[in-house]
Symmetry: C2
């Protein structure tokens, strides 16, 4: 049976590229309007898995999704980084020199300012969604309008890529997590190096973080990410997100987490998963 | 003479609220299209100061601005946190029941989904900018259209607030920095607790961060923020952003920074400034 995988956005959104990469070509991608719906539909067993963005190299961590990871009892089972490539797309038969207007999400339009600076006759027109702008120019059969979106959006809506990779900054990557319910069989094959993601809180006494990190340093366990975030409504207290380059089943990691439990007010392991590649 | 302060966005953007709060009512806010232009105009002495967003409670750190802080030789002289309050705004004389469409930036529209769920007859129309959408509905004198933006945008464009604070999440704050050139006199009065922001790199050997943090823990200096970020083009190497609850002129802080210089491959103090309040 086809696995159902929820994601936020329109069909053809960058998240759907991550769905394909993490759950395979045969998975059925299920679009949702809000991130909360993505989590809820997985929690309520309407889907088998979910794919969420967790950080972007230009814009930082998606804190809203960290909040949902705390609230819902789900597990991270895989990760992948997708390079955000913006393409100029038009309906079949439309040529670059016919264009007068380009539709897309304002964030995407703003990430292609060099392209617009050298094509001054093109008007930037904000639209609700990158992939949605491709859907619209195709269904309205616009001859003077293009859209900026992923190559998958061009593929899904039968449109044509007029110019590939028109983004200003090529170092624009989004990291995605694959989530499943606890106890369910992982869709991602095991193997290779593992990562373990966790969140913990400490009281904001000088050196509290230093002591917490000692549980890893004393066992030669390496961190891939650390980030602090003030706890809502509790001034002076902090959440820390940590990604360990370690397998949570490894006895050394288990001892470190047991040790951290003694020092932290709160500790939750969000998941253990094979380290992803970027492309 | 009036101080000129650069910010990114249209007049009435949330950044301009931060300009007013950090540089006073008499400062002249100078809008720029891109963040890079904000930094460049300060660096090239076209303005006296600049205000930039650095992190948001929902969306995380603005990494692009951390990159510019590394590239340009400027100093942080102040900080403030602005609560992002979205208001439904219309031209003078227009009433709520006349509205059929609401213009704003898609991020703002998406942060008011509860409002739209209970006002289903209102169509969400994406626009380039929050404040820009107010400017447009006023200049076009639209009778059936509203806009979502800051109260300052309503004030600047002579529009009327129909409904205040329609955002779904009240815990939406953006933290802003005031930047000036090194050696220039601070626009922010000294006093109160101080913060020092710095960035450093370590090689990704197990325990490298632990050793780096020891320079603060051993001296009872407290951290307000820590965040790691992979170094572009250098896999396995990391940048760390740290905010210390300390004055960089304090001998204890100076010793800690000297100690950190021994352990880190690279260290830059971005500024020392009075701790801001949130409102």
């Amino acid at each position: 049976m086809k696995k159902k995988v929820a994601f936020q956005g329109e069909p053809g959104a960058f998240s759907q590229i991550a769905v394909r990469r993490l759950a395979g070509n045969r998975a059925q991608a299920v679009p949702c309007e809000r991130f909360e719906q993505v989590f809820r539909s997985l929690d309520e067993k309407q889907v088998d898995a979910a794919v969420i963005p967790i950080e972007n190299t230009l814009h930082g961590s998606v804190h809203e999704n960290y909040d949902h990871l705390l609230r819902f009892d789900l597990r991270i089972r895989g990760e992948t980084s997708v390079r955000i490539v913006h393409n100029l797309i038009a309906a079949q038969g439309v040529r670059l020199r016919q264009l007068r207007r380009v539709f897309s999400h304002p964030v995407a339009l703003n990430q292609c300012l060099d392209f617009f600076a050298s094509n001054r006759h093109l008007e930037k027109i904000p639209f609700y969604d990158t992939a949605g702008s491709v859907k619209m120019i195709v269904s309205e059969n616009l001859k003077d309008a293009g859209a900026i979106a992923s190559s998958m959006a061009a593929e899904i809506y039968g449109a044509r890529i007029l110019k590939r990779s028109i983004e200003d900054d090529r170092e624009n990557y989004t990291r995605f997590f694959l989530l499943q319910r606890p106890g369910s069989r992982s869709l991602v094959p095991p193997g290779g190096e593992m990562k373990t993601s966790l969140v913990f809180t400490t009281r904001n006494t000088p050196g509290a973080l230093f002591r917490a990190l000692s549980v890893f340093a004393l066992r030669d366990l390496n961190l891939a990410k650390i980030e602090s975030r003030p706890l809502r409504g509790k001034p002076w207290e902090y959440l820390f997100y940590v990604d360990l380059l370690a397998d949570s089943a490894d006895p050394r990691t288990r001892k470190a987490l047991g040790h951290l439990q003694e020092l932290a007010d709160f500790l939750k392991v969000l998941g253990c998963y094979p380290r992803g590649t970027a492309s």
